[in-house]
């Protein structure tokens, strides 16, 4: 049994460990039939649990410590990845990674937030919270892709841009703003994929593109449910309510017309089966790129302005 079992995953995990036990003794027909019975139960249970998750539960899945991160996807679904480092101004931010890669016939620039898996690697990756140099590195790589006419894929998975003294001194706000400005104008296609957490400006800082995809169990909003709870309810205790109020899941965002497509995850979430998830995503990316590369470069800017221009609701 995995160490990282979420509350709502427990009934499934219990059945699964029971199954494992039984398989050890599976040498007679009676037990085989019983195993089959429990296997069916697991599938049914999973289907009913994962179809009816609350928004807060989806937030937890998006943060699952065994969920695939940017580099996992890169290694599982691209070939010839060549990581590039540094923003050329200050340093190499480890919470945003990027470089050249190929996916079948497509040569792409792939850039994404990177979290760590344990305490040590999380400290190294700053928990996926970039400093300004992360956004500036990302922009440098995007400009490089533009120069050599390669499509860009960005993968979003961050609890937010880092709130620190040095981050402010080096212009966290300016770095994000500059990316929004420059990404709007890029003359190569940009495919944005939210693969985990999409927290506010720290996420959007690499999130302006032509198509915006979201894996099924992700969240994307202007603030995390916890921070929203602490500000509006003046307590950290209302995160569930805040998650509901913010309507921040992939289904919500599709309905709000803020994303273009949901990428289905394996039953139980991406963390249950990295291989299958990566294969699904790879196929989706190929499909998306085949359409995106048909758009004339000079149309991209105009299209993006129109796309983001439509976002929002107001009464005139």
């Amino acid at each position: 049994m995995s160490k990282n079992v979420l509350d709502f995953e427990k009934p499934i995990a219990e059945l699964e460990s029971k199954l494992e036990e039984m398989r050890k003794f599976a040498d007679n027909l009676y037990i085989d039939a019983e195993i089959k019975n429990i296997e069916d139960k697991v599938v049914n249970l999973k289907e009913s649990i994962y179809k009816n998750l609350t928004r807060w539960q989806r937030v937890q899945l998006a943060r699952h410590p065994e969920r695939p991160y940017t580099l996992d996807y890169i290694y599982l679904m691209t070939e010839n990845f060549l990581e590039l480092h540094g923003d050329r101004y200050f340093k190499d931010d480890k919470s945003i990674v990027g470089g050249f890669a190929t996916i079948d016939e497509y040569k792409v620039m792939i850039i994404g937030h990177q979290k760590g898996r344990d305490t040590k690697s999380n400290v190294y990756r700053n928990f996926g919270m970039p400093n300004p140099e992360g956004y500036r590195k990302a922009l440098r790589l995007m400009k490089l892709a533009e120069k050599f006419n390669k499509p860009i894929i960005t993968m979003i998975d961050t609890p937010g841009a880092f709130p620190g003294i040095e981050a402010e001194e080096r212009g966290q706000a300016e770095a994000i703003a500059r990316n929004l400005f420059e990404m709007s104008k890029l003359k190569v296609p940009v495919l944005v994929i939210i693969i985990g957490e999409g927290a506010s400006g720290g996420a959007l800082g690499i999130g302006v593109g032509d198509r915006i995809l979201m894996l099924e169990n992700c969240w994307y909003s202007v603030i995390s449910p916890e921070s929203c709870s602490s500000i509006l309810w003046r307590s950290w205790e209302y995160k569930e309510q805040a998650a509901e109020a913010l309507k921040l899941t992939s289904a919500d965002l599709l309905e709000q017309k803020l994303i273009d497509r949901i990428v289905p995850e394996p039953l139980g979430g991406a963390h249950k089966d990295h291989q299958t998830m990566a294969l699904t995503l790879r196929n989706v990316i190929k499909e998306e790129l085949s359409e995106l590369i048909k758009i004339k470069p000079e149309k991209l800017f105009e299209n993006r302005l129109e796309k983001f221009g439509k976002m929002g609701k107001w009464i005139d």
Partner: protein, 280 residues
């Protein structure tokens, strides 16, 4: 001077930092504790004559500060929030908006339109901190986008005064996307070589600083304004130590290279006029 009258109506709500003294005619300066008469403050554009403390003022007052008399023509005057998420915390967002409209006489957190500065035509936008902390939701984003489009179409220099705590939580991801929307439109303006001057006032933080407020061809801040991405409280919580003196103030931001100049409110119009002459 019409500036007096206009300013007076809004005094109690405009100046959230001001302390009302009993008879309502006097204000205590939060900078130096000097007791100042409101007439005196009106004359000095709500800056302290003794220590140059800048009181927070509203958009209608900035119209008086910056634009030539009776040249301002408001656009998208009626636009208001549609409450796209039907959001509720301890209060329904729709009620919050209604109450704020009633209390402030504003429809949302930004005033947009056209006007003249020393005879030169400009597209002008000014945020209002008193409208839900000056937060940017769909209305603010859309009004800025249309203002930028108007500047583009009529080749008008664009001036936006920021005063905001950030994006509006109650519109969730819709608010977030306004950052991309406004920045994209500024990119279009820049491609046409139309100048954009960003004025940052107290406070300018979060999604506002991380979008249009930092993207001026020239970024100007009022003295001692709080300017940053993350709020000081959050940074303090995260790093677990005290913040240095003057951290995230205009002068600090100037020192670190993210604004071009710190300009007192009294000199704002002449400085901008000077810049507009240069650009033209």
């Amino acid at each position: 001077m019409s500036w007096f009258k206009r300013a007076k109506q809004n005094i109690s709500t405009d100046t959230s930092k001001a302390i009302d003294l009993p008879d309502g005619l006097w204000e205590k300066c939060p900078g130096c504790s000097e007791i100042l008469h409101k007439k005196q403050l009106d004359l000095s554009m709500w800056t302290c004559p003794k220590c140059n403390y800048h009181f927070r003022i509203g958009s209608s007052q900035y119209v008086e500060v910056l634009l030539d008399k009776e040249t301002f023509k408001e656009t998208e005057k009626k636009m208001r929030s549609a409450d796209p998420l039907e959001f509720a915390d301890t209060k329904k967002y729709s009620d919050r908006v209604k109450e704020t409209i009633k209390k402030t006489g504003l429809n949302d957190a930004i005033l947009t339109g056209t006007g003249k500065i020393d005879g030169k035509d400009v597209a002008f936008g000014c945020m209002d901190f008193k409208f839900i902390g000056g937060s940017m939701g769909s209305v603010v984003g859309e009004k800025i986008a249309r203002l930028a489009d108007r500047a583009y179409k009529h080749k008008l220099p664009l001036i936006i005064i920021a005063a905001s705590g950030g994006a509006r939580m109650m519109e969730g991801a819709y608010s977030l996307m306004q950052m991309a929307k406004t920045s994209g439109r500024l990119a279009k303006l820049a491609e046409a070589n139309i100048p954009y001057i960003s004025i940052l006032t107290d406070p300018t933080t979060g999604g506002i600083t991380a979008s249009f407020a930092m993207l001026g061809d020239v970024n100007i801040a009022e003295p001692q304004a709080l300017i940053g991405f993350a709020g000081p409280r959050i940074i303090k919580q995260t790093i677990g130590r005290d913040l240095p003196e003057g951290f995230q103030k205009s002068e600090f931001i100037l020192e670190h290279g993210f604004i071009d100049m710190v300009v007192s409110r009294k000199d704002l119009k002449s400085q901008i006029s000077h810049l507009l002459n240069y650009f033209s």
